[in-house]
């Protein structure tokens, strides 16, 4: 996975970069499965390998697919990145260890989901229960985000309606009269 990421850094052929980002996402999905997050893996597979790749290809089709030559290493960002990474690693030192069943994360909120969702909500898939019921409001927000993105794409690159007689607007702007 790291190899994928790093080679994306070096490759200048954007097509290859897009392909690799698909693979990167595939690996992430496998990792999710390994870490028991099947729903997430499912979504990552659908999104990362599917939709994102298709969209990126669509964009590449409309732009140049080769990146201009650039300086190989920019030191300012590199320092910033190393600093950020260092801070993050410093922060991990006090974290609960991987797989530790006694970590606070497993004992405060989550256990109610595991123990009671079957009776309180119903579906055997706890993720679905939490997603749609306990934290259903987040999901509403998520839906709104998808909605925003779709409308946003329309607004940004959507094409105009053809100027039919029954088109609702009577465009006063000059753009309206050119078609």
């Amino acid at each position: 996975m790291a190899g994928t990421a790093i080679s994306m850094l070096w490759l200048r052929d954007l097509f290859a970069v897009v392909m690799l980002s698909g693979i990167y996402s595939l690996f992430a999905a496998v990792l999710y499965v390994v870490m028991d997050a099947v729903d997430v893996a499912f979504t990552e597979a659908a999104v990362g390998a599917g939709i994102s790749t298709v969209l990126m290809l669509g964009t590449l089709a409309l732009t140049k697919s080769k990146e201009r030559a650039h300086k190989k290493i920019s030191y300012g960002p590199l320092v910033l990145v190393l600093l950020t990474g260092g801070v993050l690693i410093y922060g991990t030192l006090d974290m609960p260890r991987y797989g530790d069943a006694n970590a606070p994360i497993h004992s405060h909120v989550a256990n109610r989901y595991i123990e009671k969702s079957g009776s309180e909500v119903g579906p055997p898939n706890i993720v679905t229960s939490v997603l749609a019921s306990y934290r259903g409001y987040d999901t509403l927000g998520e839906t709104a985000v998808v909605f925003t993105a779709a409308i946003g794409v329309l607004v940004i690159i959507g094409r105009r309606r053809k100027n039919k007689k029954d088109t609702p607007q009577a465009p006063k702007t000059k753009e309206g009269s050119t078609s």
Binding site: F15, A16, L26, V30, V33, A49, G50, R159, K162
Partner: protein, 96 residues
């Protein structure tokens, strides 16, 4: 044990496919490599389901296979036509 061995085999195969994807050099090498990697992922996920004794998650593998197909179609189409949507046609009803 049988499943673990299988999983290991698949991972080795994936590594080989990945090498081709990184190295290229032609576009078709990469496409093929990515496609193979996808297929292997499908297998890996299935194997993994059995490995953890919860084989009901085959759905993911199924989805993967599907997406992989669509993705490959998109990529090949891109390579051939440098675009996705053609023919676009001339519709009265635009997007906005």
């Amino acid at each position: 044990m049988m499943f673990a061995t299988a999983a290991l085999g698949v991972i080795v195969a994936m590594a080989l496919a990945m090498f081709r994807a990184f190295a290229g050099p032609t576009v078709f090498d990469r496409i093929l490599a990515v496609n193979t990697a996808g297929t292997l992922t499908v297998v890996l996920i299935s194997v993994f389901g059995f490995l953890t004794e919860r084989p009901e998650f085959l759905d993911i593998a199924l989805l993967y296979a599907l997406i992989n197909f669509t993705g490959t179609v998109a990529v090949t189409k891109f390579v051939q036509f440098q675009g996705l949507g053609y023919p676009v046609g001339d519709h009265e009803d635009g997007d906005v």
